[in-house]
């Protein structure tokens, strides 16, 4: 993870704010005068009477906009901060300690954008775990990519135990939330997560399907031998779809290992060996067809 501008970290193209001042500066640079006035007035209203957040919070997208906070972000980037999410965070910060009493109702009565706003704000608020963690858990039960991505910020990484975090990461892989946007994942990876991901790869290969190549660094960091052997065994399976899926998965593993540069030597050697195995299996499949 490399430092970029002050107050932000950058993780493979995803910028993650370190504090709400960084969000405030980024948002200020994107707002026009009417938006700025609206936000200033909204902040003073919720500071004076925290209950007013109930009707201010839903209006944020209309007043501030919904575009990415960083203009370079891709349209479908589920990890990217948006103008409305940043403004919602600043409003919740402005409420102060009373935010604990408002946040669950804001989430439960909120539409998808409001819920993302609450989840992204959690890392910047003093909210009791008994209030904030159930919201993260609720979002992780949905299959909405934006909600899942929003729920897995620094707040969740500091509070979910290894088992819950492993389930969350597996869910990301399953529904298609890119792992590269999850700050802190490298520090929280465990052997059990590597095993779960490898078993998932095996399951996909046995169904003749593909897997995202970003699972491989997490798997190869711990190299679960039984699970990897089960995947490699698919290279000689009688079913051609399974052999082909195994070739593709292991080829992406080798490519990922070569790209990563920091992959352990064994994984690279293993990858090369698997490439040869895959070639033989492919040749056999051609003869059969």
């Amino acid at each position: 993870m490399a430092r970029s501008t002050v107050g932000w970290t950058q993780d493979v193209g995803h910028v993650i704010p370190l504090d709400h001042h960084a969000l405030e500066r980024a948002l200020a640079a994107r707002m026009d005068a009417p938006s700025r006035r609206w936000l200033e007035q909204a902040r003073s209203e919720v500071e004076r009477d925290p209950g007013t957040i109930a009707t201010i919070f839903p209006a944020v997208g209309r007043a501030i906009g919904r575009a990415p906070l960083h203009p370079g972000a891709g349209a479908g980037d589920v990890h990217a901060w948006t103008l409305d999410a940043a403004a919602r965070t600043l409003l919740l910060v402005a409420i102060g300690p009373a935010v604990s009493g408002e946040i669950a109702a804001l989430y439960h009565h909120g539409d998808a954008a409001e819920r993302c706003g609450v989840l992204r704000a959690l890392a910047f608020l003093s909210v009791e775990d008994a209030v904030g963690v159930p919201l993260v858990e609720d979002a992780l039960r949905t299959n909405d990519l934006y909600l899942i991505a929003a729920s897995l910020g620094a707040y969740a990484f500091a509070r979910l135990d290894d088992a819950a975090l492993a389930q969350a990461v597996l869910k990301c892989v399953f529904v298609g939330v890119p792992l590269t946007g999850l700050g802190g994942l490298q520090e929280r990876a465990t052997p059990e997560l590597a095993c779960m991901l490898a078993r998932y790869v095996h399951e996909r290969v046995a169904a003749g399907r593909g897997v995202p190549d970003e699972v491989w660094p997490l798997i190869d960091r711990f190299g679960p031998s039984a699970e990897l052997a089960a995947i490699e065994a698919e290279l000689t399976h009688p079913e051609p779809d399974r052999r082909r899926a195994a070739q593709d998965a292991l080829a992406s593993r080798a490519a990922r290992g070569a790209l990563a540069g920091h992959a352990v030597q064994g994984a690279l050697v293993g990858g090369a060996a698997q490439g040869a195995l895959a070639d033989r299996a492919a040749a056999r499949a051609r003869q059969e067809s």
Binding site: A54, T55, I56, F57, P58, A59, G61, R62, H109, D111, A112, A113, T142, N143, D144, L145, L147, V175
Partner: protein, 287 residues
Amino acid sequence: MRMFDPHIHMTSRTTDDYEAMALAGIEAIVEPAFWLGQPRSSLGSFVDYFDGLIGWERFRAGQFGIWHHCAMGLNPKEANDEPLAREVLDVLGRYLAKDRVVAVGEIGFDAMTGAEERAFEAQLELAAEHDLPVLVHTPHRDKLHGTVRSLELVAASPVAPERVLIDHNNELTFERVLASGCWCGFTIYPDTKMDERRLVSIVEAEGLERMIVNSAADWGRSDPLKVPKTAAAMRAAGFPEQEIERLVWHNPVALFGQSGRLELGEIVPALRATFAGNSILRGARPQ
């Protein structure tokens, strides 16, 4: 020609209806909150319904390229359960602040009770507070009396008549509504209320100013294609295209556009998209 159905309860309809509506040219709708054919017994049932109107139903409509908006309100029938009605009115403000909520509604009278009138007045106040237009249902029975009383309540309220739609009019009520400055809605039904032929006669005589036509299709016998069928009836009667489009598009856009929350851009139907991960393509997970 762009078409808008400004009163339709899609929660009660199928994806076949959405598909037929999209093919017939309907690009935008307003779904007013109403009752479900039987009374709800708790606030949670209302909240889940309101959440559905801004969530799953908006997503479903989008799958067919239709811009879904809604009106939020406590309907007249359930206003008569006053302890529950108070709870609903307490939470309503949150929902009146949501994106694509373009009116308070449908509110009004069913059996002309005191409880209905109190909920009506309270919701006119909420409309003023949230700067929203109002969609008023007029009763099936005692319609003229109910319409006249509704107009009196509107006149006594802080909401301007040009921001109010009085709906479900017939030959005996529409003149009073037009004279009041409110918008005049006609619901085209298979059997009751109004039909296409009668509607054509009325607009031939009265013109199109502040006239609105809708299907009010719901869980009862009704037809979600009544707006395009009315357009066809007007065409057969010799109305020029721009006049028809004024009735079935520009008028509802002008009325609900006063909310500042209409969203009418282009939707490309994305049949592979999901709402909270759940697709309308049952069984096959979108890839």
